[in-house]
């Protein structure tokens, strides 16, 4: 589903002394089937943006369009539930939302609320369990007996069981060890491709944005600061630093390499191996010149 924000402003507690503008005149477009990373430091409006994707918040001004759903002061969908069944949100630390006696019941909770028949839910559970890298042996166990990483997978399975078209991930790797982080991101990447999802990834990790996103949207003070492909965005080091964001470590290193050796290695999202070979080449040439 295509997602469009058109001049969206959102004000918390409007007409009170606590009124606070979290998003201001924000416009952008996410193409159906793409992975878009949303980056911004704490308080930049990322969480508020997410809440607009499934109608938890409705714009104070402007309009949000998700597929054929329109969200604005004039157009509030009559059936917000339907929108929410199409947009699955994996919130931060989703394992904190587990509550049922068994893993199977927990996964079933979402689809049950959307009126999916029991027989269909059973089928879906069978599909999502391997999709999130769990085995069926966990189904009858209490989710609270599982490890942190497994609990997160159960929570994600619960979102997937609703069969959303859009998957919104709010810092999905927070708190996981390096292997867990890689496994979870690789899993989302696979699911994205297999199920033709549109994926919105909110992350602090420039490395993940670089590796997985088609496009990157940088937020600052509630509005769009920059937008483009990872290569475009991460070549603007000074601009990013002006809003206290870093470029991925590889880009930082390449910049410093250029400062020291006077030779540029252009950043094209290469592998570390390729970078190493280019450095080797440059050093060799420098030595030959002398």
């Amino acid at each position: 589903m295509d997602i469009t924000f058109e001049n969206v402003t959102y004000i918390y507690q409007q007409n009170t002394p606590f009124a606070h503008k979290a998003i201001q005149d924000l416009s952008f477009h996410i193409e159906s089937g793409s992975i878009v990373a949303i980056i911004g430091h704490t308080g930049s409006g990322k969480s508020t943006l997410i809440q607009h994707l499934n109608g938890l918040s409705v714009p104070t001004e402007g309009e949000v369009r998700i597929g054929e759903y329109r969200l604005s002061q004039e157009h509030k969908p009559k059936d917000m539930k339907e929108l929410r069944s199409r947009v699955g949100v994996v919130f931060q630390y989703p394992e904190h939302q587990l509550f049922e006696e068994t893993v199977a019941k927990d996964i079933a909770f979402g689809p049950q609320n959307f009126g999916v028949p029991e027989a269909v839910i059973k089928e879906r559970i069978k599909d999502v369990i391997p999709a999130v890298g769990l085995s069926e042996s966990v189904l009858e166990r209490s989710p609270f007996d599982l490890s942190g990483g497994q609990m997160r997978r159960v929570a994600i399975a619960g979102v997937l069981a609703v069969k959303p078209d859009v998957l919104v991930l709010d810092e999905p790797t927070a708190g996981l060890d390096p292997r867990g982080q890689k496994e979870i991101m690789d899993m989302f990447y696979r699911l994205h491709n297999e199920q033709d999802l549109t994926t919105v990834l909110v992350t602090h990790s420039m490395e993940d944005a670089l590796k997985y996103a088609d496009r990157i949207l940088i937020l600052n003070k509630g509005t769009k600061f920059m937008e483009g492909t990872p290569e475009e965005v991460f070549s603007q080091k000074e601009a990013l630093q002006s809003v206290q964001l870093d470029v991925p470590e590889m880009v930082q290193f390449l910049n410093r390499f250029e400062e020291k050796f006077g030779q540029q290695i252009p950043f094209r999202n290469q592998s570390v191996e390729e970078i190493a070979q280019m450095i080797q080449q440059i050093i060799k040439e420098l030595n030959q010149d002398e």
Partner: protein
């Protein structure tokens, strides 16, 4: 001689009498004015170590000594004055109605006089750059801001040992950097032992020493420089090495051999420069 502030002697721990051992015969020491990072996969026993350090849990076997005192039921109230702890989720550690009330809470429990309390609130909130939020209600803060207040609350008690149990995991990169710089400078000034439990490799590089946990056992104890030369072994136990270590290894494959293992960009570039000007 350096003063030993923390000592684990053959410590084993499990939850309940039947559960699997989550810590197995762990021994290590941490000194005054030392920064030790504890790393390990999820479930390797890192957080259990933190909880044992200030008596939230007690070991079934072995003993834990903090500043010369054994941690037990009688000593925990004194131990907790010495050991400050900041957890991962700031929402679970707020008690005050305003930021300054929250920072004051720990000091009130310890009978710090009002004048001194006011001074420390200003000091510590300034150290974490939250001085403009003294009267703000905690629930109006973002996650990162909450965590900075939590760190201020702990610092206000002037502990000898400061434990950050994945305390920066929920912060953004610049927030993370700020906290680590703040905590690092406070550690230098006050000479406290700093124990950071983390998955963030940049935090690990800053530490004086690293303890690597694997399946409840102390897998290795060394300097960050030495630890990060073991890429394959670390990956086997679910961990990773920083970009600089990966690039150093790839350079080696490409025929560029650097001397000692560089730990950061400066060192790596310096090594490359030396190599280039030598030949």
């Amino acid at each position: 001689m350096r003063k030993k502030l923390v000592e684990f002697r053959n410590v084993s721990f499990r939850y309940g009498d039947e559960g699997p051992w989550v810590l197995k015969n762990c021994s290590f020491e941490i000194y005054e004015n030392e920064w030790v990072a504890i790393i390990g996969h999820n479930g390797s026993g890192k957080s259990t170590i933190a909880k044992l350090l200030n008596g939230l849990l007690f070991p079934q076997e072995g003993e834990i000594i903090i500043d010369g005192k054994q941690v037990n039921e009688e000593s925990i109230w004194n131990i907790r004055k010495e050991v400050g702890m900041v957890f991962q989720n700031p929402d679970n550690q707020f008690v005050g109605a305003t930021v300054q009330d929250d920072v004051a809470f720990g000091m009130e429990n310890r009978g710090v006089p009002r004048e001194e309390m006011n001074k420390r609130i200003s000091e510590t909130l300034k150290a974490v750059r939250m001085q403009d939020y003294r009267l703000t209600e905690p629930h109006r803060l973002s996650g990162g801001q909450k965590q900075r207040v939590a760190i201020a609350s702990v610092l206000a008690i002037s502990p000898k040992v400061l434990i950050l149990d994945e305390a920066t995991a929920m912060l953004d990169p610049s927030g993370r950097k700020e906290i680590m710089e703040t905590v690092g400078s406070i550690q230098d000034q006050r000479g406290l032992s700093l124990i950071t439990i983390t998955h963030d490799l940049q935090e690990v590089v800053q530490a004086d020493r690293v303890i690597v946990m694997n399946n409840g056992e102390l897998w290795k104890e060394s300097t960050p420089r030495e630890i990060f030369t073991q890429k394959e072994a670390l990956r086997k136990i679910g961990l990773d090495v920083p970009f600089v270590a990966i690039l150093t290894e790839e350079l080696k494959h490409a025929g560029v051999h650097l001397g000692a293992a560089p730990l950061n960009h400066e060192e790596l570039l310096e090594d490359l420069w030396t190599l280039h000007s030598r030949t």
